[in-house]
Structures are given as structure tokens and as C-alpha cells.
């Protein structure tokens, strides 16, 4: 059989395969160069960026839970200027598209960030994080209220011609309502899920383990919730959906595609096995070969319910 077609397209933006690395779990790509062939990935998503450098939260910032982990990094990042100066040049050395994940404290900051990112040629698309549970101002409010989400996405949309992916929070009663708000604001694609808000306690100290008290739950533990939400959203909207949450294997990634995802993002799994994203891309291709499927796009949303 000939090599199956692995490429997918999101808002006119083409990837060699549907495997992306999730924001905050793959650094700026460079860190993993020794473990993964970066050219084997569909796209790399940066750590969440903001206008000014951010210190993030005090430590401890991470803790393992059963089948998952909590993080409260608090969006520590170098800021847009340092990003342009220190990180972007590396992106010119690879052909894999880089997507800038970003957030702001106010709708105006989101717009300003979008404008600045719009002018960076190394950035192929932007992912708007309206769902980070770890920042006091902004973040979660935009991600749990459809009206605020609409407002933010609308401003971002007007500020950039690059493809706009909006990343949704799972901490909501109705994820479909949130998705519709973003579609109305002319998002090009949706990615979901971000982390679920959780907490861990140190019994002996009688204190929360995380300095921030609560953190975001990620990893295989959340996969069933992510799969459910991706399925609900993909059926409800007509823009591409990117599936995220607990993906560890090619099989997991393919399940998200059956549920309606056009692409997937690998997060926590990168920590366990730095080569996961590449392994998954290869595994998905092998699955197509084994099952005589010519094009991965044939799988999208084909779950029989």
C-alpha cells in the first residue's frame, strides 16, 4: 500500500500530520530537540505568552495525582519581547509550524497581543488561551462566560489575519454554548480541553500541596472528560476542533479523531516520554496502513453513535 495521507488543514493552515504539542508542556520546542525529531510533528504550540514577562506562581507548582497531575505554573513566561528576540529565531531553523499560545489580563491586552503576534512571520497561527485557571485576572472568567469569551475572541479576530484557534476551558456547565460563542466571534478553530481545576492536600502539613492552593488537572485521568467534550463540540460546530486531554498513545489520538477532532495536542505525556508526539504520529500512520485507510481525514468524526 502507498504511504497514507497524514496531512490535515485547519483554517487554511496545513500540517504534515495532526499531532501538535500542547502549550506549556513542550517548552519552545528546542528543549525536546534531543528526544524528538521536531520535523516529525504537525505543529508546535508555545508556552502561553503575555505582553510583559510573568513570574508565575510560587512553588510547589506541580504535584502528581492518580493518573494525572496538577499544575499551577501561573503562566510564567518570557513575555512577547523576549519571545521575539530569543525564541523566534529558533523557529526559522525548523519547517514545522509554530503556533503562539497567548493570554491577556484584559480584552484589550488580548487584542494587543494578537496584533503583535500578527507581525511575527515565525508564528503560523495563534491559540487564544481563555481558559487558564491559574491567573487571578482574566483567564478563567473569559473562559467560563460566553459573553466575555465572545468579546475577547472578537477583538483578537479583528487584530490578526493569522488563523485564530480558541482554547476552551472544561470547567463549564455547557461547553457547547462556549463553543458557539467563539464561532460567532469568528474563531477559525477550537482546541479543547484545557485543565480541570483541582486541588491536592498535604495531610501532614494540613496545607494545600500547591502554593497556589488549586491547580489544573491534566493527564490520562481527564481523557474521558476531554473525549466527551470534543465529541459534543465537534457535532455542534462546523469549524475544526483540536482534541486535547490525556492523550498518551496513537490509539488515544485516533479516538479523538473519531470523536470529531481534526488534530490533537499532546501535553502531559511529553513529560513521561519526551518522544511521545513523534511516537504517536508514527503510530497513527501505522494504524492507517494496517487498516487500509488512505487518508487520515477519512476518520474524522466517524464515530458510530
Amino acid at each position: 500500500m502507498t504511504k497514507p495521507e497524514m496531512s490535515v488543514e485547519i483554517a487554511g493552515f496545513k500540517m504534515r500530520n495532526p499531532v501538535m504539542t500542547a502549550s506549556g508542556t513542550f517548552g519552545y520546542g528546542e528543549e525536546f530537540a534531543g528526544y524528538v525529531d521536531l520535523e516529525s510533528l504537525g505543529a508546535i504550540i508555545t508556552k502561553g505568552l503575555s505582553l510583559k514577562p510573568r513570574a508565575g506562581n510560587p512553588t510547589p507548582r506541580i504535584v502528581e495525582t492518580q493518573g494525572g497531575m496538577l499544575n499551577a505554573i501561573g503562566l510564567q513566561n518570557v513575555g512577547i519581547d523576549a519571545f521575539i528576540e530569543k525564541k523566534a529565531p529558533f523557529f526559522r531553523t525548523i519547517t514545522t509550524p509554530v503556533i503562539a499560545n497567548f493570554f491577556g489580563n484584559t480584552p484589550e491586552e488580548y487584542a494587543e497581543m494578537a496584533e503583535r503576534l500578527d507581525r511575527i512571520p515565525e508564528v503560523a497561527a495563534v491559540e487564544v488561551n481563555i481558559s487558564c485557571p491559574n491567573v487571578k485576572h482574566g483567564g478563567i472568567v473569559f473562559g467560563t462566560d460566553p459573553k466575555s469569551a465572545y468579546a475577547v475572541v472578537k477583538l483578537v479576530r479583528e487584530a490578526t489575519v493569522k488563523p485564530v484557534i480558541v482554547k476552551l476551558s472544561p470547567n463549564v456547565t455547557d461547553i457547547v454554548e462556549m463553543a458557539h460563542a467563539c464561532v460567532d466571534a469568528e474563531a477559525d478553530a477550537l482546541s479543547l480541553i484545557n485543565t480541570l481545576t483541582g486541588m491536592a492536600i498535604d495531610l501532614n502539613k494540613r496545607k494545600p500541596v500547591l502554593a497556589n492552593v488549586t491547580g489544573g488537572l491534566s493527564g490520562p485521568a481527564i481523557k474521558p472528560i476531554a473525549l466527551r467534550m470534543v465529541w459534543q463540540v465537534a457535532r455542534a460546530v462546523s469549524i475544526p476542533v483540536i482534541g486535547i486531554g490525556g492523550i498518551m498513545t496513537a490509539g488515544d489520538a485516533l479516538e479523538f479523531m473519531l470523536a470529531g477532532a481534526t488534530a490533537v495536542q499532546i501535553g502531559t505525556a511529553n513529560f513521561l516520554e519526551p518522544g511521545t508526539a513523534q511516537t504517536i504520529a508514527l503510530g497513527m500512520e501505522q494504524y492507517l496502513v494496517d487498516n487500509g485507510i488512505a487518508d487520515i481525514k477519512e476518520l474524522i468524526g466517524t464515530l458510530e453513535v
Binding site: 506549556g24 508542556t25 508565575g56 512553588t59 506541580i62 492518580q66 505554573i73 511529553n270
Partner: protein
């Protein structure tokens, strides 16, 4: 580097402390004292994350079969504190593990005319043995080691065999001096003129005390830190500590995994 390893041995050297010898590929011989490895404890998601351990020893294993290639091995010295280490402690010769490493920065050994002062608290001793082995040819080494009780004082014989002068302190006085290791060290270093460099690893309060002594006595000092880690390669930003210039509006966080675990004490904020 990522590789599969085989457990050669895994022995309890003191109640709750184990020493595990593992095979490694040839390139691993380049590992520097102070570097660490991330161990995948099981081929399952419980535990989920890898566990970090310092390199306690590194060497070449002469095979019993004539003509066989010599086999690189390394050792970790670990304390059973939770789920991951408890699982590690049940492994036997012939079991397999997956390793990332060597990771992080290592110690920068002192110059030839400088005396090496090692300070270890409990299992914090672990990375100091490999360091001692590497620098023992070039000069005097003294080791100050502390623990709660005698059972927390590990592998002294090994250090002494290398020719390291060893001073012990325990909180309860069951072995060596009674009191804090830093007190013992301070007594010994007082009025001691030749140039020295301190290499310390252990719990935070001990490291703080060591840093304070180093500052006061103007002795160069490198400390090896611990932190909760997810990735071990500078990507998750989970393991950060405050760098010297850190402030509310001037973030200066350093990754223990990548910028460390070994830091010049002057690079860090100690308050």
C-alpha cells in the same frame, strides 16, 4: 539521552534506604557528578511522572564472560518516601527500567590547590560520592554528613575507602557528634586557612545554613537542590527556584532541572 536499563542489584543499605545498580550505555560514562536521572518506575501510569535521582556512582562492570565488552553501570542511592520509591525498592536483578539522563548541570570541581568540603544531609549524600571519586586524586577531601539518627548516615565506609576524611553528626547523637552537621563543619573550618570549596546537598534548612557559612567565610560553594519535577528538561517550569535577581516585577526563576540541580550559592535567593 533516553535508554532502557537493567537492574543489576538493589540492596537495602540501611533501614528504608536502598542502593540500586543499573546498566547504562557507553555514552553515559560522560555523566558529571551532580547530574541526575529521571526514572520511569513502571510501564503504567501509576505512578505517572518520572522520579529524579542523583547519580551516586558510575563505573565499569567487568563481565564474567571472557571477551565480553565491559558494561557501564551507575548507581542511585534512594530513600523510600512514597509510592515511587516503594515500588523501586521491590525490584530485583533482571528487572527493567527506563531512564532519561544524565540531566542538568553537574558540580564544577575545585582547582588542584583547593580543598574539597562535602556536606551531605541524609540521602543528600547521594551525589557527593561520585564527586568524591572524581576529585579524590587531586587533593584533600573532607565530608561532613548529618542525619536525624544513625540510620540516616549512609555509606560512610565507601567514602573512607576513597580516603575522604569523614565527620558525622546526628540530631540525636546516636552516631558522631550530637547536633547539626553545619555546626560540626563550622567548628572544623574555623581558622582553617587553606583555600577551600564547599559542595553541599541535603534538606533546604541545611543548605541555607551552609550558604550562610560560605557567605560569611567567603568560601566558594555549590549546592545541589531538589524540587518537584515533571519533565526534567526545562519545559514545564514546575521546578523553579528564585534566582538572585528575582523580584515581583523582575522575574528571575531558574529551573532546578536544567539550570541546576547544582547552583553556585550566590546565584540564588536565600530568603
Amino acid at each position: 539521552m533516553q535508554f532502557k536499563t537493567m537492574v543489576i542489584s538493589n540492596a537495602e543499605v540501611s533501614p528504608g534506604y536502598f542502593r540500586m545498580r543499573l546498566t547504562a550505555p557507553q555514552e553515559f560514562a560522560q555523566a558529571k557528578p551532580g547530574q541526575f536521572v529521571m526514572v520511569r518506575v513502571r510501564d503504567a501510569v501509576d505512578p505517572l511522572l518520572r522520579r529524579p535521582f542523583g547519580i551516586f556512582d558510575l563505573g565499569t562492570f567487568e563481565s564474567e564472560y571472557p571477551g565480553a565488552w565491559p558494561q557501564i553501570y551507575f548507581e542511585i542511592l534512594y530513600r523510600v518516601v512514597g509510592k515511587g520509591t516503594a515500588m523501586l525498592s521491590t525490584l530485583h536483578h533482571g528487572d527493567h527500567l527506563d531512564i532519561l539522563g544524565p540531566l542538568g548541570t553537574g558540580f564544577t570541581p575545585a582547582g588542584p590547590d583547593t580543598e574539597t568540603i562535602l556536606v551531605g544531609g541524609g540521602v543528600g549524600l547521594a551525589p557527593l560520592y561520585y564527586l568524591a571519586k572524581e576529585v579524590v586524586k587531586s587533593g584533600r577531601i573532607r565530608l561532613f554528613v548529618g542525619g536525624k539518627t544513625q540510620e540516616d548516615i549512609l555509606c560512610i565506609t565507601e567514602f573512607e575507602r576513597l580516603g575522604v576524611e569523614t565527620y558525622v553528626a546526628t540530631d540525636d547523637g546516636t552516631l558522631g557528634a550530637s547536633g547539626l552537621v553545619t555546626e560540626v563543619m563550622e567548628r572544623h573550618l574555623k581558622g582553617d586557612v587553606p583555600s577551600k570549596a564547599i559542595f553541599a546537598c541535603g534538606p533546604m534548612p541545611m543548605l541555607k545554613a551552609v550558604a550562610e557559612i560560605a557567605r560569611r567565610e567567603a568560601i566558594p560553594c555549590q549546592v545541589s537542590l531538589e524540587a518537584y519535577m515533571a519533565c526534567g528538561m526545562g519545559a514545564c517550569l514546575g521546578c523553579v527556584v528564585k534566582g538572585r535577581d528575582h523580584g515581583e516585577h523582575t522575574p528571575d526563576y531558574r529551573c532546578v532541572c536544567k539550570d541546576g540541580p547544582v547552583f553556585d550559592f550566590q546565584e540564588l535567593q536565600w530568603v
